[in-house]
Symmetry: D3
Amino acid sequence: MTEPNIDLVTFGETMARLENPVVGPMRHARALDLGVGGAESNTAIGLCRLGGTAAWFGRVGDDEFGRLITNVLAGEGVRLGHTVVDRSAPTALLFKERRAGTLTRVQYYRTGSAGSRLCPADVPHDLIRSARVLHVTGITAAISATARQALDDAVETAREAGVPVSLDLNYRRALWTPAEAGECLQKLVKRADLLFATEQEARLIVPDADDDLAALAGSLAALGPRDVLLKRGAAGVVALCEGALHVQGAHRVPVIDPVGAGDAFAAGYLAEFVRGRPVADRLDTATAAGAYAVTVRGDWEGLPSRADLDLLKSAEDTVTR
Amino acid sequence: MTEPNIDLVTFGETMARLENPVVGPMRHARALDLGVGGAESNTAIGLCRLGGTAAWFGRVGDDEFGRLITNVLAGEGVRLGHTVVDRSAPTALLFKERRAGTLTRVQYYRTGSAGSRLCPADVPHDLIRSARVLHVTGITAAISATARQALDDAVETAREAGVPVSLDLNYRRALWTPAEAGECLQKLVKRADLLFATEQEARLIVPDADDDLAALAGSLAALGPRDVLLKRGAAGVVALCEGALHVQGAHRVPVIDPVGAGDAFAAGYLAEFVRGRPVADRLDTATAAGAYAVTVRGDWEGLPSRADLDLLKSAEDTVTR
Amino acid sequence: MTEPNIDLVTFGETMARLENPVVGPMRHARALDLGVGGAESNTAIGLCRLGGTAAWFGRVGDDEFGRLITNVLAGEGVRLGHTVVDRSAPTALLFKERRAGTLTRVQYYRTGSAGSRLCPADVPHDLIRSARVLHVTGITAAISATARQALDDAVETAREAGVPVSLDLNYRRALWTPAEAGECLQKLVKRADLLFATEQEARLIVPDADDDLAALAGSLAALGPRDVLLKRGAAGVVALCEGALHVQGAHRVPVIDPVGAGDAFAAGYLAEFVRGRPVADRLDTATAAGAYAVTVRGDWEGLPSRADLDLLKSAEDTVTR
Amino acid sequence: MTEPNIDLVTFGETMARLENPVVGPMRHARALDLGVGGAESNTAIGLCRLGGTAAWFGRVGDDEFGRLITNVLAGEGVRLGHTVVDRSAPTALLFKERRAGTLTRVQYYRTGSAGSRLCPADVPHDLIRSARVLHVTGITAAISATARQALDDAVETAREAGVPVSLDLNYRRALWTPAEAGECLQKLVKRADLLFATEQEARLIVPDADDDLAALAGSLAALGPRDVLLKRGAAGVVALCEGALHVQGAHRVPVIDPVGAGDAFAAGYLAEFVRGRPVADRLDTATAAGAYAVTVRGDWEGLPSRADLDLLKSAEDTVTR
Amino acid sequence: MTEPNIDLVTFGETMARLENPVVGPMRHARALDLGVGGAESNTAIGLCRLGGTAAWFGRVGDDEFGRLITNVLAGEGVRLGHTVVDRSAPTALLFKERRAGTLTRVQYYRTGSAGSRLCPADVPHDLIRSARVLHVTGITAAISATARQALDDAVETAREAGVPVSLDLNYRRALWTPAEAGECLQKLVKRADLLFATEQEARLIVPDADDDLAALAGSLAALGPRDVLLKRGAAGVVALCEGALHVQGAHRVPVIDPVGAGDAFAAGYLAEFVRGRPVADRLDTATAAGAYAVTVRGDWEGLPSRADLDLLKSAEDTVTR
Amino acid sequence: MTEPNIDLVTFGETMARLENPVVGPMRHARALDLGVGGAESNTAIGLCRLGGTAAWFGRVGDDEFGRLITNVLAGEGVRLGHTVVDRSAPTALLFKERRAGTLTRVQYYRTGSAGSRLCPADVPHDLIRSARVLHVTGITAAISATARQALDDAVETAREAGVPVSLDLNYRRALWTPAEAGECLQKLVKRADLLFATEQEARLIVPDADDDLAALAGSLAALGPRDVLLKRGAAGVVALCEGALHVQGAHRVPVIDPVGAGDAFAAGYLAEFVRGRPVADRLDTATAAGAYAVTVRGDWEGLPSRADLDLLKSAEDTVTR
C-alpha cells in the first residue's frame, strides 16, 4: 500500500438535474432550474467543502450537460483526472417535479446514457490504492451490467490495498426491484467497512432483523462493516461504530429540500473519518452537514464549510431572534 | 331528461388575476404574476383533473385577458362551447396583494366587466339538462342583475330536468352586504341539493342556528339540501350528508396560499359524487384536493390528478423524511 | 407676478403601467412588469434629472397603484404638494402589449378613474404663478369634462401671470376622434407659447397646411406659439423658434422602446428654456433626452442626467467599439 | 367524400422544448425556458390563430411533458380527439442552445420516444376525409418505420378522398442522411398538391435542377404539386402556384428567433387556401405570419391573429417612429 | 424652543444592500437583490408609513447607490433637505449572505465611505430643535470619529432645546469591541430619554445588573432614560416606561427575515409617542410593526401603514384559515 | 529551460462583477447580475476553451467573492495552484452600469483589495519557466506598487528562461493618468515579444507616430515586439507580425456587450501561437473569438470552443436565414 495522498475516491453517474422553481405541476413552470446531481459526486463535493481532497470518476456525454457536470465538480475542487467524455452517448437527465410541500416526483432520461456505460476499463486502480477511503453507492450496481462490474473491480482493488470501503445503499426503486437490490447489495455490504442506510434500505439486506434499530444495526454489523449508520431523517441517527452504540438527534431546521441529506451525512462522517477523528466528531459533522443540505434547495448546493459549521453552532448557542 | 353526457356544468365570472410574487406591499413588486381565477372555473378544472368532464360558460372580453382565460380553461380540458366573447366590455381584473404571511388584500377592476354582463340569453339549457350536476356559487348572484337572472334560469332548468344543483355560498364582502347576501342566498339554498359553506357563510343563511356545528348543518339541511358541507379550513369539515353526520380532519400540510381551497374541496366532492361514490370517498377526495390547493400558489394551479392523490396517500403512509 | 421659484409646473393623469417583459402576445407572459407613466409626469421627471425643479399635480386612488405613483414621483424629486388622493375612485391602469419588434397595443382601465376626476378645485393657482413655465398636454382635455375645465383654468392662470405655456398635443386615438381633438386643441394652441407636435398631430390643427414641414411649422406659429417643435422620431426635428428655422437630426441609437420619446424631448427642451439657454442648446438637450428615452425600456426610466449627456457626447466623439 | 367540416388535419411528433433564456453556452443558464414545439402542431396553431379549425394527432408520453403538449395545443384551440397518451414511452425532448446571435445548436432526447411510436393504427381516417387539407412534413418519415407507415396511410387516405395534401419537406440532418431523405421525400412530393421547401431541401428532391429558382420550382411542379413554395428567409419567397410564378419579398423586421418561420409560412398560406382565397392573398398572409414568427422567441408563440395582421399593415403604412 | 413641526429627526449611515435571493452560499447566486438599509432611515420610513413626518440626514456618495438611497427615502416621504452628496467617497455597501434558514452573514465595503464622513458641520441644528423627538443609534458612534462628534453635537442640541432623545443601542460587532462600545454607549444612555436595547446590548451598559429583566431595565432607567424597552424577539418586550413595568408578547407570525425588526419596533413606539399616546398603545404599535418587519424580506420593506395594523388585528380576531 | 508543460501563464487582479440585467440607470435594477472578470483570467479561460492549458495566479479575499472567482476559474479548467487567499483584505468589486445601448459606466470598490496586494513573493518562477508564453497586461502595473514589482519579476523570469512575453496594454483611465501609464508601459513594451493594443493605447507609447496604422504598428515593433496587433473593434485588426503586415476585418455580428473583446482576441491569437500555427490562423481564431465575446453578455462567458469556431464558419458559409 502506497502512502495515501487523497482523502476520498468515489465514482458513479452524475446527471443534469432540471426542476420546477415554484412548487406545483412541473408543466406549469415557464422555466426549469438547471443543476447537476449524483449521490457520489454530492459526497465528494461535501468532503471538499469540509477541507478534504476528493476525486470522482465516471462518464459524461460530449454535450453541454456533460460540460456542466465537469465545470461544477472542478469548480468545487473535485479532482476529475480520470473522468471520461463519452462521444457516443448523451449525459443522463433527471427531472424533479416539486409537486406540493416536499412531495416530489422524479423522471429520468437515463437509458443508454454515457454515465451508465461506465466499465471496468474506466477504473483507475492506482488512484484508488492511494486513497484514505473509497466511497461507493448501490446506485452504480443498478444502472448497468458494466457499471456493476466496475463497482466490483473498484471495491476489490480497495480491499486488496487495505483502503476502507464506504457504502451507501441508496436504493432507487426506479432502477431495480427490492429483491434484485437486496441480493446484490448484501454482497456489497459484506465487503464494506462503513455502511450508510435508512431503516427501509437496511431491511432489504437483513429482512429478518428485529424491529429495534439497535438490533438492526447489529445484524448489519454482523455481516462485516465496522461502522453502521442508520439514518432517520429528522429523527437523527442510530449508529453502531466500532462496537459502540450512538444515538443522536438531528438539528431543528426548516426543511426546504430533503434530497441530498444522505449524501451530506456521508460527506460529514467521512470528512472526520479520514482525519482520524473520533466517532462523536464524525456524527456531529454528519448531522450538521445534513442540516445544511435540507435547508437549501438543490442536492449539494447547501453543503457546509468549516466556517458554516461554526455559524450553526454559534446560532444555536445564542437565544436570540 | 336525456342521458347525462357531461359530469358537471358551471358558469360565472372568471377574471385575470395579478399578484405580487414576493410577500410585501404590492407597489414594491417590479412585476406582478399573471393568471386567471374564478370560483366556478376553478371547480371545473378540479373536476377535469380528477378524470371528470366539465363545461363552463360565461362572458370574457375581446382582449388578451379574455383570451388568457379561454386558453387556460381549454388547456385544462374544460369545455367552452357556450362561452361568449363580449366585444363591448373588458375582462375583469383581480389584484391580490400578498401583504405578509398569508394576509392578503384584494382590489377589483370589475365594474361593467364582460363577465358581469352575463344574462339569461347566455344560458345553454340543453347542456344543463345533460349534466350530472349543475354547480353554482353565490358570487354570480352578486355581480349584476342580469347575472342573477341567468343564475335563476340555470337553477330552474336543472331542477326541472332532475339535475342536482350544487351551491357554494362563496360570500364576497366587496360585492354586497351580509343582509343583501343572506336574503338572496337563502332562496338559493332552498333550491340546492348540495351545499358548501364556511361557518360564517352558513350563519348568513340561518342566523339563529345553534352554536354547535352539527346543529348548524342541520338547520341548513332543513331548508332543503341533502348534503351540507361546512368547511373549516385547517380544522377539516363537518358534513351532514344524506342524513348522516361526518366529521373529518384536514391533511397537515404547509399552507402557502389558502385561496381556492374551497373550490378545490367542492371539486373533490363533486368528482366522486358524479361517479356515484359514497360520502366517505367524496370527503377523502375533497380534503385531499383542499390540501393540494393550499400548498401551491394560485387558485387552481395545485389541484390534484388521481395520481397526485396516490402520491399524497403513499407519502403519509411512510414515516420518513 | 412673483419671483419664479420653481422651474416647471405640470399636471394630468398618471397611471400604473403593466406590460409583458418579453415581446409576444401579452397572455403568454407569466408576469407583467409594473411601473408608472403619464406624459406630464414623464416630462417633470425628465426636467428634475437635468437639474431643474418641477411640480406635478393630479389625482390618484387610495390604493397600491396610487401609492406607487407618488412613491416614484417623489423619489425622482418631483414635488407633489398639491396631489390629491381620491378615496372614491381607483387609479387608472394602462396595459401595454409588446407584440412584435416595437409594435405595441394599449388597453386602458381608465373609465371613472381617480385621475380623470381632476377638476378646477384641484388647481393650485399660486404654484402656477410661481413657475418659469406651465407644461400641459392634450390628453388632459380628453379624459373628462372636469379635467378639461381644470386645464383651461390652469392655462388662464399662467397667461394672466405671464408664465409661458408649453403645450404638447399628444393626441390619443383611444380617447377622442380627430375631429373632436382638432377643434379643442386648436384653441389651446392659440394660447400656448411653446408647442410640441408630431407632423400628424400638427395636421389636426392646421389641416390645410402645406406638405412642407417648414410651412407646416409656420402655419402653427401663425396661431400664436413663438416656438414650434415638429418631432420626427428617428428623422430628428424641424423647429421654428423665435422666428428662425432649425433642422436637426436624431442620435443614431438602437430603439428599444419608443414610448416616452416625445415627453423626453419636451423635458430636454424645457430644461434649457427655463435656464434661459439659446435654441441650439435646447434642441441639443432635447434630442439627447429623446435618444436616452428610446434606448431604455419604460416611458421615463431612461431619461438622462447631465452626466449622462456628457457620456453620450464623449462616446460619439470617439471612434471605437 | 363527406362535406368538409375541419379546415386542416395534421400529425407528427411534438416535443417539449428547453432552451437557454440568455444567449451563450447553455451550461451557463441557471434555468432553461420550457415550451413545446413540433413543425406540424406549429402550423396547426397558426391556422387556428388565423380563424381556421385544425386537428392534430400523435403520441405523447404519460408524463408532465406530454400533458404540457396537450395543454398548450388544446389551449390554442387545436382539436386533439385522436391524440394518444402512450404509457410505455416518454415524451421526446428538444434542447436548443442559443449560442451567439441567432446561431443555435439542437440536442434531442428522442430515441424510443412516445411520439416516434406513431403507427398506422393511430390514423383517424374519417377525420382526414372530412378535412379541407391534410398537412404533413418530412420529419414524420424520418422518426421511425411505423411513423412512416402512418404517414403513407394518411396521405393515401387523403388522396382517395380528394383531400389536397400539403407537404413541408422539413429536412432534419440529425434524423437521416440527404440520400435517405431524398429518396423517401421524392415519393411524397409526387403525391403532394402543395409543396413547401427551402432551396436546399428542394435540391434533395431534384438534384439536377437548374440554378435558377424559377426553374427549380418548375422541376418540382413537374413531379406533381400544383403549388410549389420556395422559402428564402429574409429574401422572401419564389412561388409557382397553379402555373404562375410569384416572387415576393419578406417584411423587414428584427429577427429574434428564426425557428418556426417555415411552419408559420405554411400556416399563413394554408389559412387562405382553405378559405379559397387567391394566391396573392395566400402569399401576403404567409409572409406576414413568417414575420411575426421571427420577431418573437419560440417556435409558434408569435404567430399572428387576424388583428395582428392589421396591426403590421397599419404600422408599415405609417412613416413614424 | 420653537413649536415642533416635524415628528422625528434622525441621521446616520444608510447603505446599499445586496443579498442572495435564494438561501444558500452567496456565490451560487446568479444575481443579488439590490436595496437600501440603515437602522436610522429604517425607523424614519416606519414612522412615515404610520402617518408621521420624519427627516433623515447623512452623507451618500455621488454614485448610483447614493442616488438609490435618496430615491428610496424621498419616495417613502422622508425629508432629505440636509442630506449631503459627498463627491469624494463612495456609498457604503452591505452584502448579506442568506446562508441557511434565517442564518445570515454580513460583509461590509464601508471603510472610507461617504456615510462615515459625517461630521458636526453636517448637523442641522434648527431642524433638530423643531422636532418632537431626535432618534439616534449606537452605530453612528462606531463608524468614525467625526460621526461620533456629530452624534454628540446633535444630542446636545436636542437636550438644550428640550427635544427628547431616543437611543437604540444597536451594537455591531464588526465595528467595535464590546468594551469600546460599552464605555461610549453608557455615556449616551445617560443623555437619552427613551432607550431601545436587546438584553445582550443592555448588559454592555450595565454588566453587573441582575439576571432578571425587570431589574435590568431598572438598572438602565437609573442611568437616566424614562422609557426603557428591552426587546426579546419572538418572546416580546419588557418595558419600564415612566416608572411602570410592561410585559408584552410578540405576534405569532412566520419569520422570513428578522433583520430590521428592532428598527420597526422603535418606529412603532415613536409613532405613538410623538402623538402623545399612552404606553400601551405605543407597545401595541411597536409589536405590530415588528411582526410586519419579520414576515417580509428586506429591512424596512414590510413596515406597516395604519391600514395594515387594522388588517393584522382583524385577521387575528377571526378564527379562520 | 525545462520542457514546456503548460501553454500559458498569466496573473493579475480578478474581481467580482455586478451589473444591471436590463439597460438603464443601475439604481432602477431590482437585482444585479453577479459574475467575475479580470482581463488576464478572461484570456486564460479563452485559451482553455480552445483546447490549451493555462494557469492564473493572483490574490483573492477570504470571502464569497473570492470563492466565486476560484470556483469559476477552476470550473473552466484554469490551473490555480499558486493563487493566494488573502485573509486580510476583501476581494475587489466592479460595478458595471449598462446605461443605454452599449454605453456603460464602471465603479470600482478596489482600494486596498486582496488582488492589489499581489507582490513578488507570490510569483511562481518555476511555473513561468515551464510555460509556452507568459501573458501580462498593463492593469497590473497600475493597481499597486507591489503588483508592479511582481509584474517586473515575472517578466524578467520569463525573459531569462526564453519564454515569450505577451503584453496587452489595457489602459484603464480610472487607475492612472495617460502620462503615468505611457512612461511605465513603454518600458514593458520594450520587453515584450507580442503586443496587443488599441490605437489609442498605442499612441500612449509612441505619441509621435504617424497617423497611418501600419506606420503606428511599425513604431511599436521598432521598440522590440515581433508581433504587434492593433485592435480596431468592428473594423478588424492591423497586425505587423514577424515583419509582415496583415489587415483583417471583423465578423459581422450583433454587438451585445463589447467588454472582453480584447481579452478574447488575445486568447484566440495565443491559442494558435502556442500551437505553432501561422499568423493567418492566429488572426482567424482571434477575430472569431472576438466575435463570440461581443455577442454574449459578460466578459468571458461567450468565449468559443473549437466546435463553436466551426459553427460560426459553417453559418457564414451558408446563405440562409
